[in-house]
């Protein structure tokens, strides 16, 4: 384990042990990483690492793996600036990781309740680690609902995992796509419709929502309509996150001031701000 005084200061070397394209297009890739020597502290679902590919700029990446494993998993979109380098990386290459950073999903608050996970597109990455946790500790929650929306059947992340989760009796998994092909036999429509249909108890539910802002806004409306109170709705505001290096703070560079996970009533105002 990295000494406590060094946590978040220097990148820790990790070897890429597996690299899997999530989509046929190769636009999104999942890396599995093992520490060369000292491992970073165990992350909590919702946290992120700062990733240092050799010869390229660092960038933050949500952690999608099992929180109780030394292995670290990152699913990355190849359109980020550093990905020119990321694309040429191979299994066996070494990168640097710094972290874990950020506020985690408040899993403890969900103990004994219905846990409703609403994911849109790449938002499934952060919620995947909760599902890993829920499968290890199935008695922690009454029932776990994964409601996942994405663009089309070709863009379903972690396809094998989703199929495996659907078979778990304590997980209620529903996937919907905005555009279904002729061969698609699943749901077609926006993810908010899955919220309307899911049979969770709103008085005993806590909801974690992760995806594009507009998807989160409508998901919150659907959850509120279902009877889930604002203080039981949490959002991952990754795209609104700013680093403290910009604010002149003296803490280590890129350490976030707060977030990226917030209770809805703390960030409600963001949803009424018009984009410039």
């Amino acid at each position: 384990m990295v000494p406590e005084s060094q946590i978040g200061v220097s990148p820790v070397p990790y070897r890429i042990t597996a690299m899997r394209p999530e989509l046929e297009s190769g636009e999104i890739v999942t890396w599995r990483l093992q520490p060369l020597e000292s491992a970073l502290p165990r992350f909590q679902p919702g946290q992120f690492n700062v990733i240092y590919p050799p010869g390229a700029d660092e960038f933050p990446g949500l952690i999608g793996g099992d929180p109780e494993s030394d292995e670290v998993m990152h699913t990355l979109r190849s359109i980020k600036p550093a990905d020119a380098s990321a694309r040429v990386l191979q299994v066996g290459d070494v990168i640097g990781l710094r972290g874990p950073f950020g506020s985690p999903w408040p899993i403890q608050q969900a103990r004994g309740k219905d846990l409703v996970l609403v994911a849109g597109g790449m938002g499934l990455t952060s919620l995947r680690s909760i599902l890993c946790h829920a499968m290890r500790h199935r008695d922690y929650f009454r029932k776990v609902y994964l409601l996942y929306g994405t663009r089309d059947p070709m863009n379903i992340l972690y396809r094998d995992d989703v199929i495996a989760w659907e078979r778990r009796p304590h997980l209620h998994v529903q996937v919907t796509v905005d555009r279904g092909g002729a061969a698609w036999r699943g749901n077609v429509g926006v993810v908010t419709k899955l919220v309307d249909r899911a049979p969770f108890d709103p008085a005993e539910a806590i909801a974690f929502v992760c995806g594009p802002e507009i998807m989160m806004r409508f998901s919150v409306l659907a959850l509120q309509k279902h009877g889930v109170s604002d203080e039981r709705i949490y959002l991952l505001m990754e795209r609104q996150m700013k680093c403290v290096i910009d604010s002149g703070d003296k803490r280590p560079p890129n350490l976030p001031e707060a977030g990226p996970i917030f209770r809805f009533d703390q960030v409600e105002h963001f949803f009424s701000v018009r984009e410039p």
């Binding site: 636009e27 555009r179 077609v188 309307d196 594009p212 507009i214």
Partner: protein
Amino acid sequence: MNIAEELAGHPFCAAMTSEQQAKLANCARQQSFRKGEFLLLQNSQAEAFFLIVEGQVEIKVAQVSPGEAPLETLGAGEAVGWSWYLPPYRWHFDAVACQPTRVIAFDADCLRSLMAKDHDVGYAVTSRLLEVVAQRLQATRLQLSDVYGAA
């Protein structure tokens, strides 16, 4: 479960009085569709209105492309079709059961007559139907805006 009980338990009728539900029940019957069976066919006369009790229905545009990819899927607790409400009373889309599906089916003529005679029932059905239409419009806008990009 009889039809009055099913109507009472359906979200479409949740805000209606039991008296209004009883009047609606006079225009309704329980109906089942096998997988692959059509509830409504594009361009045909809109003679019914459906509330899904169980199962799943795909809404499709016929003759758009080979395979007729579904525009939307509807499930238990949802309503199918509003062309029965507006002249010329013809369906604009296909709706096909993609699972064995059980519905409450309203006779459109009976329902329109009831709504014309009893404005309270007419208002209750119209406002609920408008809510459904607004939700579908909102959902369609979101679907078209491609909020996810590639994943």
